[in-house]
């Protein structure tokens, strides 16, 4: 009887140890993953967006666009006549002439004003948020 009780006790201890051991293994497996995961997330990375500015009725629409550094802007000419997009004030960059239906794509690095050099009264602005 005593031996039987001793054997039951041993079995319980083994079971308990096994459970603790399993828990340890599980914890040991997940903790490094959780640590790595917390390290990788850091400051969240933003996916650059693409914005479209439509040229129609001799206007850029929207005429003023707020965006993030690295976003892309597509200028789409839906007007009757040829237009271009030229940086203001020093014309440091310019698209080629865009016939109706054509577009011009550019990544935006900083805020800038622009206009249509063919129709100088048409003006627009890209505002990059700091």
């Amino acid at each position: 009887m005593l031996i039987l009780n001793m054997l039951r006790c041993c079995k319980k201890i083994i079971n308990l140890n096994l459970r603790i051991c399993l828990l340890g293994i599980l914890a040991g497996s997940f903790l490094p993953l959780a640590f790595l995961n917390s390290c990788a997330s850091g400051p969240e990375k933003r996916v650059p967006e693409t914005h479209t500015i439509v040229i129609s009725a001799m206007q850029f629409s929207p005429a003023e666009l707020t965006l993030q550094r690295g976003d892309t802007v597509i200028f789409l000419n839906k007007d009757l006549v040829v237009h271009d997009i030229t940086q203001l004030p020093d014309k440091s960059w310019s698209s080629s002439n865009l016939s109706p239906g054509q577009s011009f794509r550019m990544a935006v690095g900083s805020s800038t004003d622009y206009y249509c050099s063919i129709h100088p009264t048409m003006k627009g602005r890209l505002l990059v948020q700091p």
């Binding site: 009725a57 001799m58 206007q59 006549v81 040829v82 100088p120 009264t121």
Partner: protein, 179 residues
């Protein structure tokens, strides 16, 4: 100022007045135009300004004037192309009428006046005429052509070209300050 210069200046002023008067005649008498006649006026008005642009491109050496003239030639040709495509689709044949005839008669006088000038006097006369001409054409489109056009697509095209004429007028007024 020499007598010739004074005469030329006076002639030009008279021509401007004539163009303005023509505009007021359009609005006072309100000619009743059919769609084929409206199509003729629209095409003629654009052809006239292309004609003026060609004179400027041949006579001026000023880069701003040359660029403006190039824009007028290209934009007005684009409008003519749209108008021709539409009347072809609608199977409408543009029909000659008193308004088109008046535009052509005035254009002949303007051509003669512009071809008598050169240098700074030409640049000033050309851009002054562009301001007056675009004001007159905008007025005709707004008060005669759009209200009287029966076909919705023709009316739509006339409404669609108006912003270009307004932009040309603003551009011409901007340049006018320099001459």
């Amino acid at each position: 100022m020499s007598l010739t210069k004074s005469f030329k200046k006076a002639s030009f002023s008279l021509l401007i007045c004539s163009a303005l008067f023509s505009t007021s005649v359009f609005s006072q008498t309100k000619p009743q135009l059919t769609d084929p006649e409206i199509a003729s006026v629209a095409v003629t008005a654009n052809q006239v300004d292309i004609g003026n642009a060609k004179i400027a491109m041949a006579r001026s050496k000023d880069s701003s004037i040359l660029q403006f003239a190039e824009t007028m030639k290209r934009d007005h040709q684009a409008v003519i192309d749209q108008a021709v495509a539409l009347v072809t689709k609608l199977k409408v044949t543009p029909k000659d009428n008193p308004v088109s005839q008046k535009l052509l008669a005035d254009a002949a006088k303007t051509k003669k006046m512009l071809e008598s000038l050169s240098g700074k006097a030409f640049n000033k006369a050309y851009i002054d005429n562009e301001v007056v001409y675009h004001k007159a054409v905008i007025s005709v489109i707004e008060t005669v052509l759009i209200p009287e056009s029966q076909n919705a697509e023709l009316k739509g095209l006339l409404q669609k070209v108006l912003p270009a004429f307004h932009a040309h007028l603003e551009h011409a007024e901007m340049l006018q300050k320099n001459y």
